[in-house]
Amino acid sequence: MNLPDPNRLLDRLVEQIRPHLHPDSALLGIHTGGVWVMDALLERLGLDLPCGVLDIAFYRDDFSRIGLHPEVKPSNIPFELEGRPILLIDDVLYTGRTIRAAINLVFDYGRPASIRLAVLVDRGGRELPICPDFSGVKMDLEAGQHISLERDDHSQLRLMLRQAAP
């Protein structure tokens, strides 16, 4: 399968997002891929918007099955969230469970005016009623397929597709 170039997807995302930004909008990227996408979007938008980083490890719904992620990082929202329109950003949208956790996390910091969701890739397979407001591409992948965003030492992004062992 030919995978799309993340740079093209980012260009598309920026076009979709730009008309919806308010003067007091803020961006929140989900660690780690969502933060890479957020950084790339900010560069393309050319705007100086407040942004923060979310690590959803403490909000995962599978903690009692798989335990705590060994490399949890602190979440950092260095702005007043109360009343702001928030753009939540992740690399790949799959089951929707990460987004559910991220929304819960955001509300523990305060009450935003709104939350919209932007993802680079919507790969289908949702298990929760969550839908992206903006997405770079929609793909229909099988349950055994795993798509991920990677970033090399030169900050170049690329998509990787792996097939789970049968």
């Binding site: 690590d55 903690f63 335990g67 060994p70 949890v72 979440s75 509300f107 523990d108 910091y109």
Partner: protein
């Protein structure tokens, strides 16, 4: 034996009983995880849902305000249900054995026991007998270990000094009776502290203490010279009654940390104390409240470190 008990077959922390023999990988993981919990204290909602629905029992067979309270806050910030058992007024006084008490609490669907006991080894005994899904966290046992205190001290040192590899650390005072000192020594040697000293009169040092990897000093003049970190230990009042020491005044004169003696340490040295402090015995008020003191941040960090330990053992 203890080491195997603490870790699951795939190397995750399941009980925390002692820092003796815990690999640096686990110690660092606890400190890193605690780092993420520190910022939760600044949020509007100071809770995360990790331990929702879990029952944590605080079993304090020995009194402690600070440790019990910080464990309770930690468990509540993880959204656990916390039950504090006042053992002094409980069935232990009616003759129930420790293991019967634990078996009864397990029958009440406990998920975690936080245990403080005057007898060394009590938390290990409990860990040996509980069901596999239950975790035990040692909150101080006899003279043996106080691992979460040792960990919060490591967190404090790393916070202010950035790491352990270039540090000179002195532990001053009653090392002989101190479970805190034992846990600190195990952690500091595992984490690669190159110069670890114990400073005390001979009567307050364990025999063959050098075998733990420390340098022994009998005077403050050599002991805290050029130190980056000075950890003061509490001089327990009951030690004064025996023949280990002449008097509190005499002890203060030789081993109490005063502003004058602080000048021997590095200018940016930090002073730590596990509490409760005896002002005017092991530490002068001007030092305890002075610019080198990080004694109150230790308490705050203690919450984050206990959250890290509880969330790691509960998820193993």
């Amino acid at each position: 034996m203890i080491r195997n008990l603490q870790l699951t077959p795939d190397g995750k922390l399941h009980h925390l009983l002692t820092l003796d023999g815990l690999p640096a990988r686990i110690l660092t993981q606890i400190l890193d995880t605690a780092e993420s919990f520190v910022s939760i204290g600044d949020r509007e909602v100071k809770k995360v849902p990790l331990l929702r629905g879990k029952a944590v029992f605080n079993l304090f067979f020995e009194n402690s305000t600070r440790t019990r309270t910080t464990f309770e806050i930690a468990a509540k910030r993880l959204s656990a249900d916390v039950f504090n058992l006042n053992i002094a007024t409980s069935s232990q006084n009616k003759g129930e054995t420790l293991l019967d008490t634990v078996a009864n609490l397990s029958a009440m669907q406990a998920d975690m026991f936080v245990v403080r006991h005057a007898s060394s080894g009590a938390p290990n005994l409990i860990a040996h007998h509980v069901a596999p899904h239950i975790s035990v966290v040692n909150a101080g046992d006899g003279r043996c270990a106080h691992p979460t205190q040792g960990l919060l001290d490591m967190f404090t040192i790393r916070h202010y000094k950035g790491g352990f590899h270039n540090l000179t650390v002195a532990i001053v005072g009653d090392v002989l009776h101190s479970r805190v000192a034992r846990s600190q020594i195990h952690a500091l040697t595992t984490l690669g502290c190159p110069e670890l000293r114990v400073v005390a009169p001979k009567t307050l040092l364990p025999r063959e203490v050098e075998s733990m990897g420390v340098h022994v000093h009998y005077t403050m003049e050599t002991g805290i010279k050029d130190c980056d970190v000075i950890i003061m230990l509490r001089l327990q009042n009951e030690r004064m009654q025996g023949d280990l020491l002449p008097s509190a005044g005499e002890y203060y004169k030789h081993w109490g940390l005063t502003p004058d003696k602080m000048k021997l340490a590095k200018p940016d040295a930090i002073v730590m104390h596990p509490g409760p402090m005896n002002r005017g015995v092991e530490i002068d008020s001007d030092v305890a409240d002075g610019s080198h003191s990080v004694i109150l941040p230790q308490v705050t960090f203690g919450i984050a470190v206990r959250m890290a330990v509880m969330s790691m053992v509960a998820g193993s």
